[in-house]
């Protein structure tokens, strides 16, 4: 919890919500003498308390300069190259709308748009995205200015716990761009477009986003409704 590169957060910027309380709890746990493994660190930094060489991970790493362009805002950063785009968004830029699910590219909770194209932010390094426009769920819309697709997710009850929802929404926006471009999917009868936003097509094209609450029928309904109105 003592990453020197992480900007210290002030109460003015972020009122102490659930996230801050959870972090405070975790810090107390450490102070109480619990021997937490290094992987409890939210960023992949070497444990600072141990001398270099004591742990195989502890090795001096040259920081790399990168400018992340997120939701129209540029952030000049100096990062440990091991930092995934997902961790840079969540831990460095405090854009915690993008979620960490499996952290291995299997669940889609970390889906963001890279120049409009959907990718898994957990399977790419932040330093690989110098000055490339990135859109996260915060850039799609917020409580005061919901994106139409977000409203459709609410209207169709397209989530229960909501953890996969930012990824589902970013993925759906990228997916509809792919559909509009005429790209086929595994279930398309023909390889050349155009292809309809049928339920079968949407299910296949959204298969990179898992929902443990299994809100799939309502997610498909929300996207279908949005795609019909947007067309």
């Amino acid at each position: 919890m003592t990453d020197p590169d992480r900007p210290s957060r002030t109460r003015d910027e972020h009122p102490p919500g659930r996230r801050a309380l959870l972090q405070a709890g975790a810090a107390l746990g450490l102070a109480g003498g619990l021997d937490r493994p290094a992987r409890a660190e939210p960023t992949p930094a070497a444990p600072p308390a141990k001398p270099a060489g004591a742990h195989p991970v502890a090795r001096k790493v040259a920081k790399v300069a990168v400018t992340l362009s997120v939701n129209g805002q540029k952030h000049a950063l100096s990062l440990d190259p091991r930092t995934t785009l997902l961790d840079a968004l969540r831990e460095t830029l405090r854009l915690t709308g993008t979620k960490k699910g499996c952290d291995h590219g299997q669940c889609g909770a970390c889906t963001v748009l890279l120049d409009g194209v959907r990718i898994n932010a957990c399977l790419t390094l932040a330093v690989m995205h110098d000055n490339i426009p990135i859109t996260t769920i915060e850039g799609v819309g917020g409580p005061d200015h919901l994106h139409a697709l977000q409203q459709h997710f609410i209207d169709h009850d397209a989530f229960q716990c909501g953890y996969c929802t930012p990824g589902q929404i970013c993925s759906a926006l990228g997916m509809l761009g792919e559909l509009k471009s005429g790209a086929a999917s595994h279930v398309s009868a023909k390889l050349d477009g155009p292809h309809e936003a049928s339920a079968a097509e949407l299910r296949e094209r959204m298969s990179g986003n898992l929902c443990r609450c299994a809100a799939y029928p309502n997610i498909i309904a929300a996207i279908t409704d949005f795609a019909g109105k947007a067309a």
């Binding site: 195989p56 590219g105 990179g208």
Partner: protein, 340 residues
Amino acid sequence: MRAFDYQRARKPEDALSANAARYIAGGTNLLDLMKLEIERPERLVDLNALALDRIEDLPDGRLRIGALVRNATLAAHPLVVARYPVLSRALLAGASPQLRNRATTGGNLLQRTRCPYFYDPAQNCNKRDPGAGCSARGGLTRNLGILGISEACLATHPSDMAVAMRALDAVVETRLPGAPGETLGRSIPIAQFHLLPGSTPQIETILQPGELITAVVLPQPLDGAQRYRKVRDRASYAFALVSVAVTLKMKQQSVARVSLALGGVAPKPWRIEEAESRLVGQQLSDDALKTFCDALLSGAQGSATGNAADPHRLDNANDFKIPLARRMMIATLRDAAKEA
């Protein structure tokens, strides 16, 4: 993840001069393995700024695909859709849309096996730790190989793309580290690109250290029909249990030309050209197809269900792949013949 030095390559020479480096392009498999510390590169060279992201329609009718072309871009490219539909279909059957948007042509060829014992550092694996032994024997073999495997390793190559490229006789173009200003490159037929494990399963391709894939070239388009069929445990987003890539040209009810490669069964796309030659001139009769399938599956060894305590467990056997591959080859060839 272990620490590494990171460098961005602006031109191929930057990459080729980086000693002992690993290249990163899409990173969708490499970073996954680095998080598990199965891959531990000292230095990572980022190739994404290299101008290897083009698809060129060559004057002689071949198609050159830059190594950095993303899987999604390749699958949707009009020339691939029109001339090499088996490749589009194979790509679309692989991974998830997010991964296909990131994964590259070169990286797809170089992805590592998804053998669960390779992925689990608590297990013995000759590929991960040469000489350690293979915990997969007698274990969960459902996604492991039946052909081309060895005492040391049962792993399969997980790519769908490579199976289609094998049926299409693709050629991998590379550059090798050399003296400044010197251009050293070679063209590797995809049949020779991936190696069988033998006693050295850690060596998976013919590439030399530092050798850089620059492109994959597809030969002139073939007339006739092309098919890719994949059977897996889920309808989407799963690796193949068995897949089949076919190109077929019929003439007066007989085979004029055929190529067929199997995926999901071997450490490399599995194809036997001699069997194809023997099928030419014949009708797709039950006997001719049986002879053809026998040749492809010659030497196939599957493991039978070995867990008597848990007979409903389905992942501890792979002998079902032998009849499955046979049925898929026959069904896919007969389906292709309707349009070939």
